[in-house]
Amino acid sequence: MSQALHRATVRCLYDPALVARLRAGERLPELSEQEHGWLLAVDPRAWTTDPYRRSRSLTALLDEFPVAAAVRGVRACDGFFSSQAFHRCIQDRGRLALAFGTWLGPVATLELAIARSRRPGPVAGLRLAPGVAAVTVPEGFLAWFVAARAEVLPLETLVGGARPSAAPPTEGDEHLIIEPGVDGPQVGGGSAALNAFLDFCASGTTREAALAEARRLGCEPGDDESLLAELVGDGLLVGGAEGG
């Protein structure tokens, strides 16, 4: 398949280590011997004619993950392009930002949720409104995040090696809700029950199933209807007006 070969080509362009492994005999299961032959026939120097390919892509990723990247260390973030996460993302037609956020680990939970909220999938039925996400982070994380963000931005500061002065909290739970705002995503407080309910709706559901889930999470009969109406009215949920 030409598409698989194209994706393998992209991986080689980003990762000279993969080129070296292929030249040493490694084979990609998605490619035929003939396609491997074409890749191996490329002059090895041709893969690296663009020395800024990784740094350009990393800059785009840093824009969405400045805090988690600063914790990891910007120089270390270049390693993403040689990681299994990167290669799997390209070969599986995933989204680089989401793969990068996942690769950064738990410290990227909030930024990853924001990145996901910017990229709503093709979900039908009652669902989160575009730009809305519910996320649970360690207690005190939002305050730490705001302070850390101020320390590592703008981008020139981040690229210069800035790191947050305090370590991120790791204990307890803090429930947050992300909503779209005029100047970008806004992060506010949630609750265990509300976040669980929004999570339930994230992949799309029916009105009846949502009401049942609301009751399971503690809503009294009658209150489930008003909760749903309130969340739709507040712009956190959309769809599902057709019922069933």
Binding site: L5, H6, V10, W38, V42, D43, R45, T49, A60, G94
Partner: protein
């Protein structure tokens, strides 16, 4: 609108646009950028080829050109023609919306990999097609689908590349692609020169047997020879110096392209004084 019937008939319904200049979003706002209207006033740019990535939309320069009633072509920068899912309703809707503004004579664009995975930040790039018969057939299906769904001719362009994969040569690939999609094409002479150099051929090798009647538009662009640890390649920088290989291809193709309607001189990051000689030489070759 694209007319029914074979390309050999449809091509006669396409307007002759003459010499044009290219732009893409934000190009005109950069320091030292070319002002297409200034070039137009000097009589050197009859139309504007607008590079469009729908996520960015149209900039003021493109809108002003179209609002003045001047001719345009729409150069896509964001569709993988070999992926049926890429012609999604959202993207098509934005293409149609931009086309309503620009009223382009046709759509065109590099037949290559414009984005890896879904369209997203950091996913955009440009790789040439895999030069195989199968890939030509897949891209032809995309061209026909896009032509039908947008109602305009869709002219694939040969993309640039520092290397190429597959078992066909580039001209053989585009001969198969244009025949399978029954379409015309944009022949980028600078890109072809890059390929010929990579393949160790003379600039015009293979053009004798190529169906030049499929060539509706030509691109002429400057490039810079680069050396990367001894590996030579041409950087397609659209600068003010068009390499001799590119001129040789222009001269050969212009002489045989009976359906040639337009030539774009790609030079959007140069001043007018630098590019006027390129337009003059191109016009001389096409006269």
């Amino acid at each position: 609108m694209s007319r029914p019937g074979p390309f050999s008939q449809r091509v006669h319904g396409l307007p002759r646009l003459g010499l044009g200049v290219s732009t893409e979003y934000g190009a005109g706002s950069q320091a030292g950028a070319l002002d297409p209207r200034a070039l137009h006033r000097l009589g050197h740019a009859a139309f504007l080829e607008v590079g469009v990535e729908v996520a960015k939309g149209l900039d003021e320069q493109a809108r002003a050109w179209a609002a003045a009633g001047l001719p345009t072509t729409y150069h896509f920068l964001d569709v993988n023609l070999d992926e049926p899912d890429d012609l999604d309703d959202g993207w098509l809707g934005q293409v149609r919306a931009a086309s309503r503004v620009l009223a382009p004579a046709w759509l065109c664009g590099d037949a290559g990999l414009w984005h890896v995975g879904p369209r997203d930040r950091g996913h955009m790039l440009l790789l040439p097609p895999v030069l195989t018969g199968d890939h030509a057939e897949q891209m032809a299906a995309g061209i026909m689908a896009l032509r039908e769904r947008v109602g305009l001719e869709v002219l694939p362009e040969n993309p640039p590349g520092a290397f190429f994969l597959g078992d066909l040569d580039l001209l053989g690939f585009f001969a198969r692609l244009t025949e399978a999609a029954d379409t015309g094409m944009v022949l980028d002479c600078a890109h072809l020169a890059m390929y010929q150099r990579w393949a160790g051929r003379e600039p015009t090798d293979g053009l004798d047997g190529f169906p030049l009647d499929r060539v509706v538009e030509l691109h002429v662009a400057g490039g810079t020879e680069q050396d990367h640890h001894g590996f030579g390649f041409v950087h397609d920088d659209h600068g003010g110096v068009v390499l001799p290989d590119t001129w040789a291809i222009v001269e050969r193709v212009v002489a045989g392209a009976v359906n040639l309607k337009a030539i774009v001189v790609e030079c959007e990051r140069n001043d007018v004084a630098t590019v006027v000689p390129l337009f003059e030489r191109t016009a001389e070759l096409w006269s």
